[in-house]
Amino acid sequence: MDAAGPHLPDRLAEQVRPEARLIVLNGARQKEVLPSPEELTRLLEAVAQARDRNAFARLFAYFAPRVKSFLIRSGLTDAVAEEVTQEVMIAVWRKASYFDPGRGGASTWVFTIARNRRIDRLRRSRLRTTDHFLDPSDEPDTPPSGEDIALMTEREKGVRKALATLSSEQATIVRLSFFSEKPHAEIARELGIPLGTVKSRVRLALNRLRTLLDNDP
């Protein structure tokens, strides 16, 4: 897959309809059945409580290809992205008991692990270990209430809806902000606007995103 190539618009278009995506499984093209956020949460809890290998295998099947894809899109080579993906999945196994469904969904939790591992990898040339101020396993454990979990599940859905509601330019700005170390330059290139205009466009996009997130928790 040419995920690291410059043909971003095609890929963004591809990302619009995740349900239409196919994956290659055992040589046969099959429709991938996407686990629901609730299902992912249940699988993580099974890993945390019972070291459930089948649950982990399902988490791996869902997350590993997406984490790798995300890392490649962020500028890592295929080989490095795969190494980091393995580190991320090992962290998922080992830190599953720190996952707090009252603070965020499973995808968000795995995203924060992938984000921190990517930071480690990018800084590795000049460091031993990085201090993550936002380590998802860093907080005192307070068991979430059912209400918290319901709220988080709603947020997860609300955020997906918000992303889909943004104009394509604004969605591009938000996505590039997650993929790129120097998002302003990439946003200018991608949207064909002068670098000087990027700042105000980013501000507009984030205002809109904030409105959507606030109104649709």
Binding site: T85, T130, D131, A162
Partner: protein, 216 residues
């Protein structure tokens, strides 16, 4: 006290995305400790990261990746041993925020009359430009501008400049458009945590004062 000054949307987005430098990230983490509203904003933006991960087109994996991963998991303890020994930190006369408990913090050093600084080191990022600053009540800091972003979180006392007043819990972001002359409140000394982004330098006197001593 109500917090009046918060990190910008873009700063929180960069923190959520993992593209904010370690120094600014530390200052924002200290702000988050005291600001539930910004923790909530950050959680929303991290959830955007989760949604983007969800919609990534799956990349093909090496056929044996799962097997190799399971092999590595064999024999690993279920939960990683937390290496969270607090750093030795000198008594600075203030309670340091939790987010700073793993930072190397130096003793107060003289910077000018009524003006002290302490070097803050972040494990893994020796180039981060972070420091604690302490000014006595009523101190006028030299006017200065910045080539890039300066992040400043008030830990105790208060500070004001042409744009507003900053109390404990407030975070100020000053960009290259801001030229300011901060003044410490009359009631007490002020301690704040400040970070400069990347290769940001200070213009004016303060820059000339800091550069040979602080190194940036």
């Amino acid at each position: 006290m109500t917090i009046a000054h918060h990190p910008s949307d873009e700063t929180l987005l960069r923190l959520a995305a993992g593209t904010l430098g370690a120094g600014p990230a530390l200052v924002v983490a200290v702000h988050l400790e005291g600001c539930a509203a910004c923790r909530e904003r950050l959680a929303g933006l991290e959830a955007v990261g989760g949604a983007i991960l969800h919609e990534m087109p799956p990349a093909p994996l090496s056929a044996d990746l799962f097997g190799r991963t399971m092999e590595r998991l064999e024999g690993m303890p279920p939960t990683p041993v937390q290496d969270r020994v607090p750093k030795r930190q000198p008594a600075l006369g203030i309670d340091l925020p939790r987010a700073m408990r793993r930072c190397d913090v130096g003793p107060w050093r003289w910077l000018g009359p009524g003006f002290k600084w302490s070097k803050v080191g972040i494990a893994g990022d020796p180039e981060a430009k972070v420091m604690l600053l302490k000014g006595r009540a009523g101190l006028h800091l030299p006017a200065h501008g910045h080539t890039g972003l300066e992040f400043m979180q008030v830990l105790s006392g208060s500070l004001s400049d042409e744009r507003g007043q900053y109390f404990p819990g407030d975070l100020d972001e000053a960009d290259d458009q801001v030229d300011h002359r901060p003044v410490v409140g009359q009631d007490s000394d002020c301690v704040c945590l400040a970070a400069l982004e990347g290769d940001t330098r200070l213009h004016g006197w303060l820059g000339r004062l800091l550069r040979p001593i602080v190194g940036f």
